[in-house]
Amino acid sequence: MPGLLIKNAFVIDPLSGVKGEVMDIAIRDGKIVEDVPSGAEIIDVRGCLTLPGGIDSHSHVCGTKVNFGRYMSPEDMRAGRTARKGVMHVTSGYSVPTTFGNSYRYSTMGYTTILEGAMAPLEARHTHEEFTATPHQDMLANTLFDGNWSIMDAVREKDVKRAAAVVAWTLAAVKGFAIKLTNPGGTEAWGWGGDMSSVHDTVPNFDVSPAEIISTMIKANELLNLPHSVHLHCNNLGVPGNYRTTLNTIGLAPDLNKERQSLYLTHVQFHSYGGTTWRDICSKSEDITMAINSRPHVVMDMGQIMFGRTTTMTADGPMEFKLYKLHHNKWSNHDVELETGSGIIPVYYSRKSLVNCVMWAIGLELALLTKNPWQCLLSTDSPNGAPFVKYPEIIALLMSRKFRENERKMIDQRTEHFVPLFAIDRELDWYEIAVMTRAGQAKALGLTRIGKGYLSPGAEADVAIYPIKPGEIDPSVDYQQVVAGFSRTLHTIKRGRVVARDGEVVVEGANSTIWSRAHVPPEYDMGKDPEFIKKFEQYYTVRMNNYPVQDVYLPRGIRIETEASL
């Protein structure tokens, strides 16, 4: 293979400190190299914006819950259908597309790596099977530990090392990437019809509080030296006045890691509400961002909502029940034994709804008020806030005050009394967008160690080239061009191969699944721990031997190995 040379690329590569230089990128054997021999294929991009491949640090694209969203919404599957074409399979679905639909649409937007936000350990096989059918992106799975009985037992006994050992065993068994806590304790309480209304509530039958679970898991995560931090969906999602819970949670995070954050808060938009009821809901993004700005060891993602039809799906069962009571539409509720739960309902975010308009404003405010773009990443918690295909619009909203003012005219006129958005002049630049869509994610997820998120020699050759010439357009005025540009790459290059060109997918693709394996001393091997085995055989409906996901489910697994400090 003589390689590939991208000429005249306008490169922004925050992790390598490149802030917009015209340069050439040489690619060989799936890696970025110093140069390639003559005879290499040349792509002259004539000064177009060239970024590392996009990374989505929180999205729901694969797994049992997503699939349930598909089959409870036949009307959604009728939307967004595309026919078979070349190497492209038939796709369908808008807010919860088929796996190939997800993969192709991400690929044409220049995304090459996706983290599935919540995988129930017991149902990991399904998730991994869908990962294999999402061929253009490398996939990672956050693994749910929010209501895990063994974890909560360890938390009650204040045994951080045992919690770490359970995490290590479970991640290795289900080939998960990182720790996800969804409404910690709340999903277990939901099994009894309850919920957690603050971080100091008590989980029924376990005598632990969400605060204890979060603190213990942050420490356990660092004991295992996992690449990513704890990935937290706070308690009280979507409840007016929940910003206090969020502030309390942020206050729990110690600074334990030099290289990355110690706590990752996801879809914070849903956790930044003031007021007491839906009638007086208001934005508390200023309080939240003030807390984030003073704590560099906490990173969040936006969880932006965009107006239109979508499907909400989360492991947070009690929250979905509250939404169901609001909408009276169809609802799915699911319990995963000894581990977690989930809920799904379809929603429509309307410009006529004041509550929805306030939610829309909060997401943007979080990004605009966070001083350091590395601390607030771009996401919609797809599909909860909006399907990921809306990312280009969000980028344009962040880059253009004029676009926000135009939107202001179309939404509920009372909105401005409840949110500070329209007083914010800040417009993000290309560099900040590059941080919020790839470099920040790579750093927060700890993926730089496997060469993701940057373009210097040695990195994985994941490159996205957009038909945007940053010198020639002013994003604050030509925001429609920004939307169009980020919606369709000129070339998306995955591991040195052009996978999508001008909005069309050109190869079949073969992705990898990235998972973490923390090596623990023999005395912490839960696979040989008599008490763990006894409880497992006593309570689970599956045998412990049948629980781990076999290697055959990960045809191209990439294992990140760490040495635990136990």
Binding site: M72, S73, P74, E75, D76, M77, R78, H328, N329
Partner: protein, 254 residues
């Protein structure tokens, strides 16, 4: 203008034809109408003998007449907004999907999903209609929103499911669960049916025959008089479905 489409004999006559492009407005200017036979795309000319008579300046003046073996043709009149379609025989599924204006007259029977999610216009079926007549398609929360559907014969199960506007009249019997999840509009059933209006939240349903397996979640609300087919009828009035905060009205002949 009158367009007569007569089906050509086919080697495999059971393969369905999907003909969403057969709507009056398309015949005004276009002569490249495509239809699908199974999974093969065909020109309209390949499957029909086409005869055109007279001029037209607007789609309102276009009348499309379908004759021959029409029972396998699906989606005729989809998104139709003007003019008239006359089907001389039976018609396949999804006739009049999403139509907003105009008229469809079916001399024979209609298959399932007649007038699915229609917004306006008029459909008259002189034979029987299949299941899900004037209903919403799978997963859709709003069925028919406006217009009128009249069936001279019987209709199948789930007639007018998710009905939210307009008027549906079935002169014969209905199958199981007519008017289920109704939220507006009017459903008139001339004959018998079973389990009418489960989970209804709004609208009015009148049953002039027997309502079998009547659901227990309807509250008696007096007696009303009404007229059907020129005859005065005394009706038991019910409010419901109370299991779902329903404010619908269900009238059943005494």
């Amino acid at each position: 203008m009158r367009v007569i489409l007569k089906t050509r004999p086919r080697a495999k006559p059971k393969i369905p034809i999907e003909a969403e492009e057969i709507i009056p407005q398309n015949f005004l200017r276009r002569n490249d109408i495509r239809v699908f036979e199974g999974n093969k795309e065909r020109a309209l000319d390949d499957l029909f003998f086409i005869t055109t008579e007279g001029p037209a300046v607007s789609p309102d003046q276009v009348e499309v007449i379908l004759t021959g073996d029409t029972g396998v043709i699906k989606r005729v009149g989809e998104y139709m907004n003007a003019g008239r379609i006359i089907v001389e025989g039976d018609i396949g599924m999804h006739c009049g999907n999403f139509m907003s204006a105009g008229e469809i007259l079916i001399r024979g029977n209609a298959d399932a999903w007649l007038g699915r999610e229609m917004r306006g216009g008029r459909i008259l079926c002189e034979g029987n209609a299949g299941h899900y007549c004037a209903a919403g398609y799978r997963g859709e929360k709003r069925g028919m929103r406006g217009g009128t559907v009249e069936v001279k014969g019987n209709a199948g199960d789930f007639t007018a499911e998710y009905l939210s506007g307009g008027e549906v009249t079935i002169h014969g019997n209905c199958g199981d669960l007519p008017g289920v999840e109704m939220r507006g509009g009017t459903l008139v059933i001339g004959g018998d049916c079973s389990r009418p209006c489960g989970n209804m939240t709004g609208g009015t349903c009148m049953v002039f025959g027997q309502a079998h397996q009547f659901l227990p979640t309807f509250r008696k609300n007096g007696i009303e008089d009404t007229v059907y087919a020129g005859k005065h009828c005394r009706m038991n009035a019910f409010r419901g479905d109370v299991a779902n905060r329903g404010k619908g009205t269900l009238l059943v002949r005494m």
